[in-house]
Amino acid sequence: MLQNALTVITKIKPGELETLRAFLLVVGRDIKGKRDNSHVHFANMHTTHFARWVIINEYGAPHLLFSSNHDGSDVEYIALLIEIIAEALDHIWGHCEGYPSGMDVRSPQFKAAFTQYLLKHAIEPDTFYIGYRGVRVNEMQGFLKLRLRLEQTFDLPAVRAAVSEALPHFPLLSQTTPAFVALRQNMRSALILARVLWDTIVQFLYLVFIKPQILRARGLPRIDYVVPPPEAAALYKAEIEDVVAQNQMTVITRIKPGRSIPLKLVLCFVNAAAKHIFNEGSLANIATIHFARWIIIDDGKHLLFESNYDSTFESYIGDFVDKVSHGMNAIWRHSEGFPETTGFILTQGGCNHIEAFKTYIRQNQIEAQVFYSAYPQHTVRNLISALRIGQTADRGALEAWLSRF
C-alpha cells in the first residue's frame, strides 16, 4: 500500500512524564516550524499527511502514542523521521523505556536500533480508512497549487473575455450510454461485495488465530490502559481544537467482557468495506475523514480510535449520527458506558442519544500534545476536487498538444 498508518505506543519512564509533556507542548505550538525552538519539521518530510503525539494512560502507567499517516513503508518512514527530526528524538522517545539512548543519532547503529524499537512497539490497525487512496502528500500539494493558480487565472478579465469568446466555437458531441455498461456495473457491485466478505473473513481468521500467536512470540509489554474517571471529561480542553481545517480525535474505550471477538468481526468488515467500497473520499457518505483507524489494544480489553477529520467536533459527531448511526452503534456498543442500544444489526438508540454520545466521547477522548496536518486549509472534499483537476490535467499531453497546435 502506498499510504500507511504507523501506531506506536511506548511506556514513559517513571518520573519523566512532565519533562516529556513540556517538550511536546513546545513542539505542538510550533508545528509549522515558524520559530526556531523546534526540531520537528514534518513539512520537510514531504511524506507525512498527518501525525500526532499523545500522552495516554495518565491514570495508570503513562504511555506515549505516536501515530502517523504517511507515504511509503513504515521502515522508509522511520528512516526519514530520523533524518529530519534527529535532534528531537532523544527529547521525545528518550523519556520512554527501551529507547536506544546514549547513541549518536546520526550513526547507522542508531538507525537500526531505533527502527527496531519503533517497529517492536508498532500496532497494526484492525480497520484503516483512507480518504484519498493512492495519493502522495507532495502530489496532493502540487494539485492544490494548480487549483489555486487556476482560480486566480479564471479571475482575470482578459481570460474571462477570451473564454466567453472562444467557447461557442467548440462542437457539442452527443453522448449515449451503451446498454452493456449497466450490466457491467451490476456485475462489478456483486464482485465488490464478494471481495468485502472474503476480506472480512480472511482478516478475522488472521486476527483471531494467527496474530495472537505472533504477539505472544514477540513478548510485548501490555499497556493495561486505565479509563479516565468521569470527571476527566471536564479536563478535556476543547480550545486546542479548530486551529487548522482538521481536528484530531484519539479515543480509548473499555471493551465489555467477552465482546472483543464480535467487535473484531465488525472491524474486519468495516476495514474491507473501507478498502473496496468507500475508497473515493467518503466513508458511507461521510466525506470529512482524511484518515481513521480502529485498533483493539491490551489483548482485547480496549478499543483505540483515531481520526483526522474536517470541521468541528460538533459537526463531526453530528455527521456520524446523521449518516451512520448503525455503524457507530455496531462498533461502540461493545464498549462500556456507550449509550444503550436496542436491536442487533440495525440498532436503535445508542449514538442517537446525541448529547449522551458526545459526553461519552469527550470522557474518553485524549488530548494530543502535537498534531500536524499537511493540509491546514483544505477539507477532504477540497482535496478530492483538486485531485480530479490534477488527474485530468496531464502536463505532458498539454505541452504536446499546445506545441504542435
Binding site: F154, R160, D242, S311, E314, G318, E355, Q377, S385
Partner: protein
C-alpha cells in the same frame, strides 16, 4: 402516534410567528431572589400561551431567562447542571464556535458583555403590540409594576419594528424559510414521507419526540412540594421535568452596515452585465442580490424562478422546493445564504443527495423569530444610526441546531466549498473569502471587502413552559 402539543403550557412565541408590527425586547436584572419572584408572580398570568386564537390579541407577552437569571430565582446548582452545557456556559463563552472574533468579541458587546457584571442579564421580557400605542400602553403597565416592586433593573430595551413589506434592512423579505412544526400545521402526518414535511415538535419544544426519534434532554428540579404541578420524570421519582414544554432561545443583536452592503452590490453587479446578461443595471443589482442569498429580495427562491423575480408563489411552495438537479449551483449558488442555512436535498455528497440529505438537515433547523431594529437607511451614505436585526431563534438543542447552522454560515469549507463564506457572515476578516457565483462560461469570484454584519451582543435563554414559570415564581 404523536403526542399532542400541550398548547396551554407552551409559550406562544415558541410555536407561533405573531406577525405583530411592534415588539419591545427588555433585558432585566433582579436585585434579589425575592424581587425576581415577586415580579414574575405579578406578570405570569399575562404570558401568552400557544393556544389557538379566536381573535388576535392586542398585546402579547413572553418570558425567558439566562442561566444567571434561573440562579437568581433560586434554582440550585444541581438543577442548573441539568440544562444544556452551552446554555450554562453562556453565549459569551462560545466565541470560538460562533466565530465571534476581532470586532465581534464578547468583551466589546453592548448586551451580555461578560466584563460588565453590573449588566448581567437575568430575564428577557418580550412584549408585542398590534399598534405602537398598544405596545406603549403595555410597556407602561410593565414599568409601573417594576416601579412598585423595586429591585428590578431594566438594563437595555430594544424596539423591533417590522416593516409593512416584511423586509429587513438589506431589503430581503424576512423569515421566508421557516420550518413547520408537526401538530401545529394542517399538512401533517399524511405526508410523513415528504422530506419537506413539518418537523417533529421535539426539535423545538422539550418533552416531545425529535428527529432522532428520542426525547430531547430536559432539565429537572427536585420533586418538592412546589414542583408537584410539573411533569414527572420517568423512573426518577425524586425529580420533576422542569423543561417540559420549554425550549432554548438564542438572541443576538446584529448590526447591519446597509451602506456598505449596497455599495458592494453596486460595485460588483456591473461585472455580470459585460459577460452574459443584457438587462438594465438596476436588474443586475437585483440579480446579484438574489445570487448571494438564493432568493430574490421579494422572497421568491431562485430555484423556482431562476431568470427574473416573479410574484411570490404560495407560501407553501415557497418553502418546500428542492435544489434537485442543481448540484453545480448554476441556479442557486452552492455558497448562497439559503443553501447554507438549509441545504435541503444537497447536504453531503452529490451521490447522497435527496432524502438522506433531508434526514440530516432536518436535525439542524431553527425557528427564527427576530425583527429588524433601527430606522431604515434613506441615503446612499451611512448616516451613523444603529440599525440591524434582533436575531432570535428557537431550538431544543443549542449545539446541534443554532450553533451548528452558525458554523455552516461561517465555514469557508462548508459542504465541499473552498474560501467561500456566507454573504452575511460576521467574520469575513478571518481569511481570504469570496462569494462565488457559478455560471457559464466561468464562475464569478467576488472578494468580500468587509463583513456587512457585526455582533453587538447576545445571550442564550431558556423559555420555560407556563407551569415552570409558575414554579419559578412560587416561594418555597
Amino acid at each position: 402516534m404523536t403526542t399532542p402539543l400541550q398548547l396551554d403550557d407552551i409559550q406562544g412565541f415558541v410555536v407561533r410567528g405573531y406577525t405583530f408590527l411592534y415588539a419591545r425586547y427588555l433585558f432585566l436584572q433582579f436585585d434579589t431572589q425575592a424581587h425576581g419572584q415577586q415580579w414574575l408572580a405579578k406578570i405570569v398570568d399575562w404570558t401568552t400561551p400557544a393556544t389557538t386564537w379566536t381573535q388576535k390579541p392586542k398585546v402579547c407577552q413572553n418570558i425567558a431567562f439566562t442561566v444567571d437569571g434561573l440562579k437568581a430565582l433560586g434554582l440550585a446548582d444541581s438543577s442548573l447542571q441539568t440544562f444544556s452545557k452551552e446554555f450554562v456556559a453562556g453565549m459569551h463563552t462560545r466565541e470560538r464556535v460562533l466565530g465571534d472574533t476581532e470586532g465581534n468579541r464578547a468583551d466589546l458587546w453592548e448586551i451580555g458583555n461578560p466584563t460588565r457584571p453590573d449588566l448581567q442579564i437575568h430575564a428577557l421580557l418580550l412584549l408585542f403590540g398590534l399598534t405602537s400605542d398598544d405596545l406603549k400602553q403595555f410597556s407602561e403597565q410593565h414599568a409601573q409594576i417594576r416601579a412598585q416592586i423595586g429591585g428590578i433593573t431594566l438594563l437595555h430595551s430594544i424596539d423591533g419594528v417590522r416593516r409593512l413589506d416584511k423586509k429587513e434592512h438589506f431589503g430581503y423579505l424576512d423569515g421566508a424559510g421557516q420550518p413547520q412544526i408537526e401538530g401545529m400545521d394542517a399538512r401533517s402526518a399524511a405526508h410523513s414521507a415528504d422530506p419537506t414535511r413539518p418537523l417533529k415538535a421535539g426539535e423545538f419544544v422539550l418533552g416531545y419526540q425529535n428527529e432522532y426519534g428520542i426525547l430531547p434532554s430536559s432539565p429537572t428540579v427536585p420533586s418538592d412540594a412546589r414542583a408537584q404541578r410539573l411533569a414527572a420524570v420517568e423512573k426518577q421519582p425524586a425529580l420533576r421535568d422542569f423543561g417540559c414544554n420549554g425550549t432554548y432561545l438564542v438572541l443576538r443583536k446584529l448590526y447591519q452596515d446597509v451602506a456598505a452592503f449596497r455599495k458592494f452590490l453596486q460595485d460588483n453587479a456591473p461585472d455580470f452585465h459585460s459577460e452574459s446578461r443584457k438587462a438594465a443595471d438596476r436588474h443586475e443589482v437585483e440579480w446579484l442580490a438574489a445570487k448571494l442569498v438564493g432568493r430574490w429580495r421579494s422572497g421568491t427562491p431562485l430555484a423556482l424562478s431562476p431568470e427574473q423575480d416573479s410574484p411570490l408563489p404560495g407560501k407553501h411552495e415557497n418553502n418546500t422546493f428542492k435544489f434537485g438537479d442543481d448540484t453545480a449551483g448554476l441556479t442557486t449558488p452552492r455558497g448562497s445564504h439559503i443553501r447554507r442555512a438549509n441545504p435541503r436535498d444537497t447536504f453531503g455528497l452529490p451521490g447522497a443527495y435527496g432524502t438522506e440529505s433531508f434526514k440530516a438537515v432536518n436535525r439542524h433547523r431553527i425557528i427564527r423569530r427576530g425583527m429588524p431594529y433601527g430606522p431604515p437607511l434613506q441615503s446612499t451614505q451611512d448616516d451613523g444610526a444603529d440599525r440591524g436585526l434582533v436575531f432570535i431563534c428557537i431550538n431544543a438543542n443549542i449545539a446541534v441546531q443554532y450553533e451548528f447552522v452558525q458554523k455552516w454560515m461561517n465555514d469557508p469549507n462548508f459542504n465541499g466549498l473552498y474560501q467561500n463564506q456566507d454573504v452575511f457572515a460576521h467574520n469575513h476578516h478571518i481569511t481570504d473569502t469570496f462569494a462565488v457565483i457559478e455560471q457559464p462560461p466561468l464562475r464569478q469570484r467576488i472578494p468580500y471587502p468587509q463583513s456587512f454584519v457585526k455582533v453587538r451582543g447576545g445571550a442564550y435563554f431558556f423559555m420555560p413552559g407556563i407551569a415552570a414559570l409558575r414554579y419559578l415564581s412560587a416561594s418555597e
